[in-house]
Symmetry: C7
Subunit: 94 residues, 7 copies
């Protein structure tokens, strides 16, 4: 399976855990995960956030699962950057 | 035939496979393919996505074919960057 | 817990301490803290400011607490950049 | 005659050959030609494209001729970057 | 006290001293001060200017005082960039 | 006389010579002249173009004259970048 | 007196001397002066130009005087960048 380098998610979350805690919990799901969180809309009981997760190799299932555990819902996957997991031709012949 | 370095496609796809899976499958069609996928519109049963595929040498036929297999339709080729496959003059005379 | 690299806060503060003093007090809460303060709105008794705090490792609790001591209120956490505190896989196996 | 480094053309083309094939054919007209093609408008039987051709030394006649052979028409030359073919003064006196 | 690296001030000044003299006088208040002055509005007797002062270590009191001496009034501090004066942890333990 | 490094001209030209030929002829007026030509408006018998000529030392008279010979008219000089022809102080004392 | 590095002036000038000559004359007032001139408005008998003069050390009086000699009038000083003429602290103690 191709390697996921960046995912941009539109997520609806409750006010608690707050934006900082939410981002920290996700970052700690993998090694060298970088999480950028931008609050886009604040409603009575929810916040709409844009989550950008970057890493060398993102385990998306684990991320999606933990968002659900924290009471969040992935509205949409807005952007994806992936790289082929096939070795380059140079490496194939070496 | 000239070497294809980048293609930007406007594609209509069903919700399944989702954006992440869609991009991963395409990336694994060649070595060192990079696939950037941007969801531009979400309708009831479909998503309009912008697909940017970059690589040293893109096999477009294979890409186009696999998009069809996953239920997608290429609306338009929006951008293309290609390079001559002719050797440079320096190389021709060496 | 993940490491906090940058926080962007929307803060309501009284006119005193002024923007400069406010920023300086926050910067001195940790070593190598960089504080950028932008005044966005000025009202009769208050100012709405955008605070961007960057450092290698931000202690958010300490920041939040000191803002309160100076009479300010965090309206919202607008942006967060955090990094996993997990060692990289290379480091785990060494 | 001065050396042509970049030409931006507004071209009307039939749907066939498609954008990718159109660009590839042009790129192969010279060595190290780079062709960027952007589809700007799609009509019933035609596409309006913006063609940017860059190279160390573009043979414009050849390009113009091949566009015609593929059924296209150059609407306008929108941009041109050329360089004097005169040797620099330093080179003239050496 | 934290070190002030940049201050952006909204200042109302009389036409005399003119923008150039005004900036020069401020720059000479410290070593290596850089002063950028932008005239934003010109009224009958006054000019509204945006002053950006950058240096390794700005003495704000001295700046504020001299603006007053030249007949100007600081409308607002619009931006502040400061750095912690605490030594980094590496330096603390050395 | 100061050295002219760049001139941006608004020029009205007939359709013939076309944009490419027009630019090439100007480029060949001096050594290492770079000419960028942008077609801004196309009318019945004329084109309005923006000509940017860059070189180490542009002979403007020669350019202006040749534009006239090709049937063009300089509407306006829109931008000029020149450099003092005085030697730097360091060079004056050496 | 602080060192003037850049001045942006709004100047009203007659059509003669033209933009090119106007800029060249100013550039030759000092060594290594760079003059960028942008024509912003053209009226019946005058042009409004934006003059940006950059150098290591601009003698503003000389510039202002010569603009007057050529029939121009400085409408406003729009931007100024100056640097303290005080030696840095490191240099003071050496």
């Amino acid at each position: 399976m191709a390697i996921v380098k960046r995912v941009v998610l539109d997520v609806l979350k409750p006010h608690q855990p707050d934006a900082l805690e939410f981002a920290c919990e996700l970052a700690d799901l993998g090694s060298e995960y970088q999480v950028d969180l931008l609050v886009k809309e604040v409603d009575d009981k929810t916040q709409t956030i844009e989550l950008t997760i970057s890493a060398d190799n993102i385990k998306f299932e684990v991320i999606a699962n933990h968002i659900k555990i924290m009471g969040g819902a992935i509205h949409s996957i807005d952007e994806v950057a992936v790289l082929s997991s096939k070795p380059s031709e140079a490496e194939q012949h070496s």
